[in-house]
């Protein structure tokens, strides 16, 4: 089942076109990575998919036009983790995760049983149940990342949009966060994630979308997208590629300098 479908998306920021005619689709159970160099328009595209930036084109979620969903409906079908997410007040972990239940709660009502269950499950899955009463500012980087991810999971939305959720995490926590998102997709959700780590993208994602200068360069399976040619064309690097335990790795190795010719 196609969960999200986007056609000919154009987004302009301050009059400058940042995303220029990109289309993509993601099905339930799939994990899709948005790739591309800095400034390619990944973050802007993801924010548009979340309904947070004005766009031209058509975005349908579960067959319904995003533009026709009201705020609460939209908040229940998609959960969004912004780039560099942090907490402005040092709330406890539990209180932060509870914020994910906001779209489900009527005003002036205390959390219902379903809300408490969703929060408990999110805390459990991210392995932070023991930290539930700790203030956010006393957590390590990895614990913070898991807390913010738990907040996203607590929404229990069929669609999760995460912007660089593994940035500035150690290798252990990068793998942990990717596994959590992969597990979430395996339970039937669709996950769209902005990534810079090509190996993580190749290993954990079903579908890659490669952008450059706001345009679609390639989309499809990791094998078809992460070619030597595409990496040279978009990231301007060569990469070591291979397989280990029948999974692909892609290791950026050398950049092309300005005066050096790209290979065909």
């Amino acid at each position: 089942m196609i969960l999200l479908e986007a056609d000919q998306i154009r987004v302009a920021l301050a009059g400058r076109p940042v995303v220029n005619g990109v289309g993509l689709r993601v099905a339930a159970g799939q994990m899709l990575a948005l790739l591309g160099p800095n400034g390619a328009g990944k973050t802007t595209l993801l924010a548009a998919l979340a309904g947070l930036r004005p766009f031209q084109g058509e975005i349908r979620i579960q067959g319904r036009s995003l533009a026709r969903l009201n705020r609460r409906e939209r908040a229940r079908v998609l959960a969004y983790l912004p780039q560099g997410q942090t907490a402005h007040w040092p709330l406890t972990v539990r209180r932060l995760v509870e914020l994910g239940r906001l779209p489900h709660q009527a005003p002036w009502h205390s959390p219902a049983a379903a809300d408490r269950l969703a929060v408990a499950s999110a805390l459990e899955r991210t392995g932070i149940a023991a930290l539930a009463e700790r203030p956010f500012d006393t957590l390590s980087g990895g614990e913070r990342a898991r807390t913010l991810l738990a907040r996203v999971l607590a929404v229990e939305a069929p669609l999760v949009l995460a912007d660089e959720p593994v940035a500035s995490l150690d290798p252990y926590h990068q793998l942990r966060v990717m596994e959590l998102l992969r597990d979430h997709a395996d339970t039937g959700a669709a996950v769209i994630i902005v990534l810079h780590d090509l190996t993580l993208a190749a290993r954990f994602c079903d579908e890659l979308v490669l952008l450059r200068d706001g345009r679609l360069v390639a989309s499809g399976t990791p094998r078809s997208v992460l070619t030597t040619h595409h990496l040279a064309d978009t990231y301007r690097v060569t990469a070591l590629q291979g397989e280990y335990e029948s999974q692909r790795y892609v290791l950026p190795w050398q950049r092309y300098s300005r005066d050096r010719e790209y290979p065909g």
């Binding site: 998609l78 402005h88 007040w89 709330l91 914020l99 994910g100």
Partner: protein, 335 residues
């Protein structure tokens, strides 16, 4: 600390504050400059002493009521603004609403409107507050970034203070000058039940707007984009908090003059006990603000000075050291 003891603590603190408020109200009614102790006052009052009834019901009661209402308004709007602007140093004065209300009142005194009808001064003050809000709303509609809003507030505030100074500068006579200056210092002295009646409708609407924003202010902890993705309408939230502040603080300033620092301090007094979640601070901050102002007014009345101290002076004298402590402490814990 689990979720249930958490809400127990919230109830205990709120209840404690209510008990404190009842105590301060009784003290405010029974204590004063008369050479009678509270017990004698109560006995005379129950005997039906008409002179004492006038003092307690027509002089002290409006004063105590206004203190509670104004304090609650300042505390509540301070807590809501700190949540909206995600800044622990925000307070109602920062938006320029109090300064604009002050300007309205000073103009009413300057042009002698205040002598025409008793409604002129608070009416002009409210008008000033609403005008400032309109300017802020127009600026916020273009750009909802907290920093832009704070800068806009500083601009509105500076303009209002400059125009107020101009009015003082051009004051027709020393009497008018002292009248304006004393009003600006803030006081609950010689207020009547008509002042209470004037302020209450505006405050009630403002309180409702501010209290309704709790959950959305919580979501704003995650930043604007994440809050919007959780279904929060940012523009509507701004409109409610700014509008609610204008109504409550505008009405408060209209009847008492400028009283600073209560809105800043009240939320901070609660955070060590109640945590940082904006929605859990709102109501207790209103109660704390009311208690602070009631206590400050009691102090003003009981401290024997040659002239009665002005309320705004006392809250500022107590507030500034707290503000400095806050600045130092915030810098230490900033991420």
């Amino acid at each position: 600390m689990t979720a249930s003891t958490d809400s127990q603590r919230y109830r205990q603190i709120s209840l404690g504050l209510v008990v404190l408020l009842v105590g301060l109200t009784v003290a405010g009614l029974l204590l004063g400059s008369l050479p009678l102790n509270p017990w004698q006052t109560l006995l005379h009052l129950l005997d039906g002493d008409p002179r004492l009834a006038v003092i307690v019901l027509e002089i002290r009661l409006p004063r105590v009521l206004l203190g509670l209402l104004v304090g609650a308004s300042l505390g509540l709007s301070g807590a809501a603004l700190q949540g909206l602007l995600r800044n622990p140093l925000a307070e109602p004065g920062i938006l320029g609403v109090s300064a604009s209300a002050g300007l309205g009142a000073v103009l009413a005194l300057y042009f002698g409107l205040a002598r025409v009808t008793v409604w002129a001064l608070p009416g002009c003050a409210l008008l000033g507050a609403l005008l400032a809000t309109l300017i802020l709303a127009l600026l916020a509609a273009r750009d909802s970034n907290p920093l832009s809003l704070i800068l806009a507030g500083v601009a509105v505030s500076s303009l209002a203070i400059a125009l107020t100074s101009l009015a003082l500068n051009l004051a027709p006579n020393p009497l008018a000058l002292s009248e304006m200056v004393l009003w600006l210092l803030g006081s609950l002295r010689d207020r009547g039940l008509s002042d209470v009646a004037l302020a209450i409708p505006f405050m009630a609407v403002g309180w409702a707007l501010l209290l309704s924003a709790g959950r959305e202010l919580d979501a704003l902890t995650l930043g604007e984009d994440a809050a919007r993705s959780l279904g929060v309408g940012i523009g509507w939230l701004h409109a409610r908090v700014i509008g609610g502040t204008a109504l409550t603080v505008g009405a408060a300033t209209a009847v008492t003059g400028t009283v600073g620092f209560v809105g800043l301090i009240a939320p901070h007094l609660l955070r060590p006990w109640l945590g940082y979640q904006p929605s859990r601070i709102l109501l207790p901050a209103a109660l704390t603000g009311a208690a602070l102002l009631a206590a400050a007014d009691l102090a003003v009345r009981l401290i024997p000075t040659r002239q009665e101290l002005m309320l705004g002076v006392v809250t500022a004298l107590l507030g500034v050291p707290f503000f400095v402590h806050l600045l130092l402490y915030t810098r230490r814990t900033a991420p």
